[in-house]
């Protein structure tokens, strides 16, 4: 069970003077159960790339295989793909339209051909997973707070029981508390439901803490595809793409240069703190 992109390319404004390549000859394999961070500068092609993964954009060239089947085969049902590959767009709260939260979450499962019971079970389950309490189920989604709206919108995609969940900048425009909340939520969903998560972001900080694998994309091409520590070894190249390695990692590297014996590979605040404490002999 996996998603494979084989040499896909996509151009915007094909055939006009404004033709630009958004995705260039990308080959990518997404096996089951990974937590992947897809990182790139604004306009690097990451949003275009992920829309290929559930068939919203058809590549100009190249093939996409889901569990071994070509998704543009005649008898392949794109709706099945869209059920199994859930895509949460940027600012997903803008897609809410129903009169109550539960109805909005039910929209996906109902479209995907769930029975009434299955759909309701999936919807309640998804709302629980994103931490929306029973008291809000019958509220209008437009009356919720920003963070709550976003969680409802994520639940709307989660309720289709996807095997792969792709999220485009799920923390954009949220305060620090909201960010951590959403990211922790994703980690929990990843661990409990064992689904693959692809987190699209331009923040190394967010991705470093959660992802097991980082894909760096710039100008429509993949530059690095490795575990976080390995990717962060290329600090200078990342900088040229307008990406910063996490501040914690920058700090320990500077300390190391100054001759302190700290662990250079720290990615999170906790790791960094522990390493510095150890170095200075503080408990």
């Amino acid at each position: 069970m996996s998603l494979i992109l084989d040499k896909i390319s996509y151009y915007y404004g094909k055939g006009t003077a404004f033709e630009t390549a958004a995705v260039k000859n990308i080959t990518l394999s997404i096996p089951d159960g990974e937590f992947i961070g897809l990182i790139g500068h604004t306009g690097s092609g990451k949003s275009t790339l992920i829309q290929h993964m559930n068939g919203l954009i058809k590549p100009e060239s190249g093939n996409i295989y889901f569990n071994g089947a070509d998704i543009y085969d005649k008898d392949f049902k794109l709706r099945d793909l869209r059920r199994k590959v859930g895509l949460v767009f940027q600012y997903p709260e803008h897609q809410l339209f129903e009169t109550t939260v539960i109805k909005d979450v039910l929209f996906g499962p109902n479209n995907m051909g769930f029975t009434k019971l299955e759909a309701e079970v999936a919807a309640y389950d998804a709302l629980k997973a994103v931490g929306i309490g029973e008291d809000l189920i019958d509220a209008s989604p437009l009356e919720l707070s920003g963070g709550q709206k976003r969680r409802v919108a994520i639940a709307g995609v989660l309720a289709c029981n996807p095997e792969i969940l792709i999220l485009d900048e799920p923390t954009a425009g949220l305060d620090p508390a909201g960010r951590t909340e959403i990211l922790n939520l994703l980690k929990k969903i990843h661990e409990e439901k064992k689904i693959t998560i692809i987190l699209v972001s331009h923040s190394m900080e967010d991705v470093a803490r959660y992802a097991e694998r980082i894909i760096v994309i710039d100008n429509g091409e993949i530059y690095f595809d490795d575990e976080p520590r390995k990717v962060f070894e290329h600090e200078d190249e990342l900088k040229k793409m307008g990406l910063e390695i996490p501040q914690c990692t920058q700090l320990v590297r500077k300390l190391k240069k100054c001759g302190f014996d700290v662990d250079e590979d720290c990615l999170t605040v906790e790791e960094t703190l522990a390493s510095i404490k150890e170095c200075f002999g503080i408990n």
Partner: protein, 263 residues
């Protein structure tokens, strides 16, 4: 499917027509339309046709562009020509079942058709060579005299420019919401009329919500910059007539006079 809609069809190029004052272009287009209905003979067509080809060449517009602009009125054009052809009384030159084609009908259809084509050509040259903003600013100035009659000219012009400004943004938004709902299994493309109309609900509601949100944000931003309507408001780029505008006006007067006096 939404990408095909082009509104505010400005075609960027460096030409003397592009540089003309928007008022000149607006009044000029009106004058050209008037001229189109002044002549009665074939020579008038030649004059107006020559004029429009000359202006197109000056504006460096590709003919392909102008012809593409004809597509929306194609149906209307055919409709008008067929009715003129069949329903004009006069000397009968052909007859088939209940249809009668007269000599006058052929002339009327040809004249009507050509006039309509040139009318659309003329006004599309204006929209192709003038940015929507300049156009509204020109119209505001042209209709400025209506302020005496308490018509809120500035406010109307501002509304038009804001509306034009928001068309691409809302199109983009529509596209995004459509994709987001498709990712949740929405289907906009199959089914009967009623099913399709129903399928639009998940698209239209978020679109309206976002349009209202944007409108509110914009209103607040304008108020924060002390916008309070047109009274006493100056322009960053005031409209100014140049020599080329005078030449344009003179040639338009020439065209109208020509159309009136042509045999």
């Amino acid at each position: 499917m939404l990408r095909d809609i082009t509104l505010g069809q400005y075609y960027p190029a460096e030409s003397v027509i592009h540089r003309l004052d928007p008022r000149t272009k607006f009044l000029g287009t009106l004058a050209f339309i008037v001229a189109l209905f002044l002549f009665k003979t074939f020579w008038g067509f030649l004059l107006c046709g020559g004029f429009i080809i000359f202006v197109t060449a000056l504006a460096k517009l590709p003919i392909k562009f102008l012809i593409k602009g004809m597509r929306p009125i194609l149906f209307l054009l055919l409709f008008m020509m067929i009715f003129n052809l069949l329903l004009t009384p006069g000397e009968i030159i052909g007859q088939w079942w209940i249809f009668r084609v007269t000599k006058e009908g052929v002339y009327a259809a040809l004249f009507m058709g050509l006039r309509l084509v040139m009318l659309v050509f003329g006004s599309s040259i204006m929209t192709y060579t003038t940015t929507p903003n300049k156009l509204t600013s020109g119209m505001e100035s042209v209709f400025g005299f209506l302020k005496i009659f308490k018509v809120p000219v500035h406010e109307l012009a501002m509304m038009i420019s804001i509306a034009l400004r928001f068309i691409p943004i809302l199109l983009d938004e529509t596209n995004k919401i459509m994709k987001a709902q498709q990712a949740r299994g929405a289907d906009f493309e199959t089914g009967g009329l009623i099913k399709r109309a129903k399928a639009l609900v998940p698209l239209l509601i978020p679109l309206f919500v976002s349009a209202f949100r944007r409108a509110e944000e914009l209103a607040e931003a304008m108020e924060a910059r002390c916008y309070h309507g047109g009274k006493g408001r100056t322009k960053m780029k005031p409209l100014k007539y140049h020599l080329r505008d005078l030449i344009a006006y003179l040639s338009l007067i020439g065209l109208i006079v020509g159309c009136v006096f042509i045999p």
